[in-house]
Symmetry: C2
Subunit: 300 residues, 2 copies
């Protein structure tokens, strides 16, 4: 039905939005606090996980399906990855980090619940990201692969390492190599994880795993370059968060390093490579191709 809708001319944005609405109930079903959870913590956790576009979860699910699995098989890993993403936003928004007040069109977690509560809600989301696959995936070998990949993609040699480099590089002169390293770890690494999780959940072959990784890598880089561009060219209303903050904070950005036009070209190049990586999956991967194209055309 999803692919038919696409073929009928409904854009990938609508497909994704419709899929994300259905996926909310999957998230809800896996984020049920037991009575021991303090109410403020369960509220802060659920608040922080709401409202995303669910791009990462969509990739996990679709790659799993393209490798011969089902959406049900991908669900715990897809929810887990959204928990990691939400955790990273909650902590990145903290006063000691990027100090943001607005996220997904609403007050950031620490603005809504307090700073200590936001630190703890982020921590709880990260723990949930491992509890959900460890308890929700039946096959132990898949749990082992999924947990190892999630932890590596998230950890000190992954997204958290990238955020550290980002924070440390503030107010340094823009430098392309540095920007690329930050983008690769801070953003693209979790898209690689998205692709790999989908493949693991379907017990995919090595070639499919490699293709899923490459798609995630290039899509993630395109995504972050586009995000840098939107920070320069977008409005706060479109983005649901503060804009023009990167330059103000002395952030390393692609447009800061090479200018707007070269950044647009770089994003298009990554999209092309992402689409190329999908070749192994044939015409069935049409929605992931459209997703790649949408990434550089999006307005928020």
């Amino acid at each position: 039905m999803r692919r038919a809708a696409t073929a009928n001319g409904i854009g990938i944005m609508d497909v994704l939005a419709s899929w994300a609405r259905d996926f909310e109930s999957v998230i809800d079903s896996m984020l049920v606090p037991d009575p021991a959870v303090p109410p403020v913590l369960s509220e802060a956790v659920r608040y922080s996980v709401q409202g995303g576009k669910r791009v990462r979860a969509f990739i996990v699910t679709r790659i799993c399906e393209l490798c011969g699995g089902t959406a049900e098989m991908a669900a715990p890993a897809a929810v887990a990855l959204e928990c990691v993403h939400a955790f990273s936003l909650v902590h990145d928004d903290l006063p000691a980090m990027d100090d943001d007040d607005l996220r997904r069109g609403r007050p950031t977690c620490h603005k809504a619940f307090g700073e200590a509560e936001a630190i703890l809600a982020g921590d709880a989301l990260l723990a949930l990201a491992f509890e959900i696959p460890a308890t929700g995936i039946v096959e132990p070998a898949v749990v082992k692969a999924v947990v190892a990949e999630l932890a590596k993609g998230t950890g000190w040699a992954g997204m958290i390492g990238g955020q550290t480099t980002d924070i440390q590089s503030e107010a340094q002169p823009p430098e392309l190599g540095l920007v690329q390293r930050i983008h690769r770890y801070k953003t693209a690494r979790l898209f690689v994880t998205a692709g790999r999780l989908g493949a693991y959940c379907a017990r995919a072959e090595e070639a499919q795993l490699a293709a899923a990784s490459a798609y995630g890598q290039h899509l993630g880089l395109a995504f972050q370059i586009a995000d840098d561009l939107l920070d320069v060219t977008g409005s706060a209303e479109q983005m649901g968060k503060a804009v023009a903050k990167d330059a103000e904070a002395g952030k390393q950005t692609y447009p800061g390093a090479v200018g707007i036009e070269a950044s647009r070209a770089a994003a298009r190049d990554e999209v092309r490579k992402a689409i190329q990586a999908l070749e192994i999956f044939g015409p069935a991967a049409e929605d992931l191709r459209q997703l790649a194209n949408y990434i550089v055309e999006r307005r928020h």
Copy 2:
């Protein structure tokens, strides 16, 4: 050798200290950053994991051995639990939380490396706590059990939930039920996890798992009551951290709720129950019995 030394009259403090020295090299071998890790992050992570008494790792290892396993089988889970413990200390010490400057006799992580770096180092330690067992334990079924238990013990219905209740209850009048709930989740839950991880690593029987859980629960409660008492009666030099901070911060403590003598009696009662739980393991559990007794007699 360990038990012989104990029988010869060398106290459990010395046994534990000697074991902990050997265990440092196990931790080091599992915390090797790959070149992608930013140096400041790997330094902050390794700094934060240094210097603990390794009580939790000792319990994981000894329970595993008592259930028929080896120290080698327990090592990834034991290191993982020390990572969770270190993560919790780094985040609890943050200015937005308990705002501590001193930990294990040295500046806290945020004092030594900066606040953003400390948030990220804590996050990285939590991710490592899952990466280490997922990659270091061979048997997928053990990985699944260990990761699920670690995540539950750490998460919103575990230690993080307990810390949330602790923060939320500051400046409320001391109340025994509330103190007990905080102690159970904030502290004892991770000792339960220690016992359970040891049992899982040895593929123990259900009765051994239950005994290991009960030992952890009672030992953890005794440990936290003793910690509350030391905050009242100890010196900063002995403790390696600031003291008399609980009352100042309006913390819920056992002595605050029921007084010093009743707290001592409660700690002794928990120690008695912890020792009772070890019955199933016979004389071989002598060092864990001594550990329980030491908990209430310790000076730091």
